[in-house]
Subunit: 347 residues, 4 copies
């Protein structure tokens, strides 16, 4: 910790601070500059709570050198990347970028089968689809629950895909655990620490979405909750953040945040290009931008008949929209960042 004294702080004020530091067992080094003194606190291993020092006169600023968190930072991971391996050669965080696709919600056995059939024929191995949905209105469709889970399970089995599906509370987590290859925790639950701790105590990989108003530091704290309980298999997902511009669009993809996350932390980071747009016509453009910027994967909503979708219809791509987008993405894939990974030869 570094304590910056005010210009004109008295000797006594400096002495008081030094004694306080020593009083709690640390060492203080005073450094007199041209204009002011600064006091460097030594001997601490971790983060020191600054509130203890707030009462002293003559302090201008207190700056922390140690950070409150540990496991989430790359420097505490020996500088290495974390690789999340789902088996069958499906891996996040290595040299390729994955595509996760599927409907917002599993609406029926037929629709998820149809979607899995379509996606697997395009070489996509990661099928998303919610059985438990946290919708903004209590009157909106909330998902089929356990029945939805069994449908996506059957679809993934038949088409040899991996399942990405959401848990929203303890009950759904207990159900989803047995079925999901990746458990999604949505943006609204990003600071539901109780749920995060439970995610840390299981083995399934977790896909944690950044809250649409969470700072990168908030996100680090949430990741630390999972990591500190023992689960290192986390995929981080940027899905856009809310800005002052409330009337125009839902949220804005924070590309620089993605690169901060990639540099400061060690976890794979994917980008959800559907939720930021609210409008399917804009999904391909954002997906191209995300891939050109560089990330460990994309997540997009695809639906057999988006106009009739029970949730997120406006931003869901039809099969045809998705095919057209894939043509574009393949052109850019691998040109200067991680190439998209497809699991069978494309037509």
């Amino acid at each position: 910790m570094l304590i910056i004294m005010k210009i004109g702080a008295t000797k006594q004020q400096i002495l008081d601070v030094v004694q306080a530091i020593e009083g709690i067992g640390y060492q203080a080094k005073i450094s007199k500059g041209a204009q002011r003194s600064v006091i460097l606190v030594h001997g601490n291993i971790g983060y020191i709570d600054e509130s203890y020092f707030k009462k002293f006169m003559g302090i201008r600023d207190i700056i922390h050198i140690s950070k409150r968190l540990k496991l989430v930072y790359r420097e505490n991971n020996g500088g290495a990347d974390t690789i999340v391996d789902l088996g069958d050669n499906i891996v996040f965080g290595d040299r390729s970028a994955q595509i996760i696709a599927g409907p917002c919600s599993v609406e029926s056995r037929e629709m998820i089968m149809e979607t899995a059939d379509f996606l697997s024929s395009r070489g996509i191995k990661l099928l998303r689809g919610g059985a438990f949905k946290p919708r903004t209105s209590p009157y909106s469709f909330q998902g089929l629950g356990d029945k939805g889970l069994s449908y996506i399970h059957d679809a993934a089995k038949k088409y040899n895909m991996k399942i990405v599906t959401e848990a929203i509370d303890e009950y759904s987590l207990s159900q989803v655990m047995d079925v999901a290859d990746v458990i999604q925790i949505g943006a609204r639950n990003m600071q539901n620490y109780s749920l995060l701790k439970k995610c840390g105590a299981i083995k399934n990989p977790i896909l944690l979405k950044r809250g649409f108003t969470a700072s990168i530091d908030d996100l680090y704290a949430s990741l630390e909750y999972i990591l500190s309980e023992g689960n290192p298999n986390i995929i981080v997902c940027e899905r856009g953040i809310r800005v002052f511009e409330g009337t125009k669009q839902r949220s804005i993809i924070d590309f620089l945040g993605v690169s901060d996350l990639r540099e400061e932390s060690h976890l794979p980071v994917i980008i959800d290009t559907s939720h930021a747009t609210r409008e399917r016509a804009k999904v391909p453009g954002l997906s191209r931008a995300a891939l050109a910027f560089g990330c460990d994967g994309l997540m997009v909503e695809v639906h057999p008949d988006p106009d009739k979708a029970l949730s997120d219809g406006p931003q869901s791509l039809s099969f045809n929209d998705f095919d057209l987008m894939l043509i574009e993405l393949k052109k850019i894939s691998g040109l200067f960042s991680k190439p998209l990974k497809f699991y069978k030869e494309q037509k």
Copy 2:
């Protein structure tokens, strides 16, 4: 719903929209203005999903007249206020303003006893104190859990106070239910809809804090989750919202949001003046402002020895600070908005 066509929209484009409206069972009234046509949709009872219309050419804007939610709006409550009555003449939403005070966390039996003794001697009847705490860092003190609950229970019983304490998940809710007069749901759980639904299914009054990045409409949706499950006893709490100004302070009290809530909804609204400040010296000023602006109550953090508090120390008032603030608040109380309610004669 009102569909505003573009200037220059063709007759055929207008016709297509009208046919689509009629195709889903509603009536369409075309109104030709000087510059453009608008189409008013009739015959619907509730909210119409606009995504169905997104594909039509020639539409400039779609404006909803019906709202997605119901129970939360004052106009759907016959214009009346909701009164939350805790018994013993302790009431939120009527003609006086309550003070909820106490430590962030229950740290020991002694400290909560000492706090209750002090507060009750000042005529305060509402004792806050968390047994389950959702802290930003997993390494911060997380509360004493069930033991904490039993301590605050004993303190409230001895000093004849009401308990306001937080639930953060299903387990803590099941424990807190038996003890709490008011169950607090914190800002980070404001969109934990699963927890909100469970709060809607019980009888205890709920104190729902607005998320620090939640819009008023987000908050309405969360309130509707509780209301729609059958629990009308909700106290809303504004605690400051996050702004672009990240470096200076934690959050900014949205006073106009408080009056919007009071006008558009029917629930009592209190203001937490501790969390916005991060600094105890600023709590009295914000509390004076809140009381002068007008609200149904204040919530403040008070601790016997704030410098040693295990959580929220910097913004907690000492007993002496609290006394000094009360002197100020009493001068303003009742001058032009709801007077503070004290439950015994003050010295």
Copy 3:
């Protein structure tokens, strides 16, 4: 204008509003829905000020159909694109994307000559460089003023380039007018309406940067100030907006805002990928994303020796950085959106 009455508004309240509408010369059409009445106001050509109606009881919302502005909207431009033609086949808004490059400030005759030499050898025709700089600190380098203008003039002449340079007030505008092919108005002056009006009264094309906290609607108003004075030659520049996340980065590129601008307005829109980053290592990634998303051009800062730059050094690319970025951008150019325009064959 549409006036939405409250559920339960009385006949008299509706009548009062209707009489008020008729009293100012418009017609009122009442439409009774299942739950509430709405009143459509007819007969107005432009925007009606809603304040007149604020005093009436029983009104829930007032919704404007006519907009306050005119010239800035595509629908008022017959749906057509505006093309900004600088001569010599250098055009914004048509089928290709331009690159504007150069230093933040003109620091000396040598450095701008060297930069122009380099850029023109890469087929870049648009040279940026500020002579008048609005810096956040009054103690930072403020530009060379008139001398800087003459240097960039000489450089552009020698290397046959077009000049993009900033005006910050009346004096600098009067100087810059004679030299600049495009006059830049910076983000901090986006709402300096007095300066905008003066830009509207001249012939030079204007490059207007969106303020880093301006909404799209604020930007439309600023554009209307220029358009309404008679200058249609405007290039809009998105340079990132400020978000609640103050500690991590300067600003976030609002890609969806760029597509809103392109659809709702008719002016060319370019993206400045240097200012959002504050860090040169991130400029190529954002530039790739911008080009993949689609826009009418890029603006980037390039400096012969960025570590010694007098302004914006951290985010300026060296010549070598720029070359490496160009290699990437050429791979993506024209794949699915407007191709970059280069003005001579590249090696």
Copy 4:
């Protein structure tokens, strides 16, 4: 400056940084902590540009101890308050709080006379009224210009009041200079540094409004522009800042920002309670809150007939509204912060 090295930074990396520091003439002190090294830079008088160090490997963070600005900070003013004295015992920044009132714009000789007559009868000595108005739409009323100035001049002379009126560019500044006791620079021009410099070169006191999306640090930079040109007579005005919540209200008063300004800087700070609301019914509540919080004055819009105002009608108080608000404000005035200053006995 403090350079924090990464955990695991090599000796060579630390040495490289030290050599770089010494290479530009400063001293480096290495301090090895339990986990990492930090390097303190000594010998500099002012702010060091960190960009020079960005290229070195092994650096985690660079923290500035010296600040970029000088005159604006209280510690550089010997800790003292600046008092802005307008003569006739009208003073900002001392022990009382001033009220500035009047219409948004001077609309006619009669209306400004009538307003001055009314306000002076209530003991108000500071008359606001714009002759030059920066309106968001170019089609809105832009003020009467020079004629408006002469009207407010006559009104102030007749009723012995001081004039607060806005300058928006060089021309209006040159006109306003001769008439205004206080020259207002509006929120949209807060970063019009060219205009600020001109304000710094004159003698008139300046009222600088914080931009609605300006951080406190942005504001300090703008103030420094005025101070550094030699004009210390500045009144700062908080008028609300824009938040993510775009749909509900215009802006939110940043009370904690006001106290930060008061502590960190030395200038008087007033609060404009009209612009944040957009609705006159909410002005008294915010004004009470502002006065209860504590500030050096209030600025409110008052109009003889607000429904017919040419600008800002919805948020302007009528004379009767203003009288009712004064009754409330007098009750609170002086109770715990600066009392309002009235200049004659009130009925």
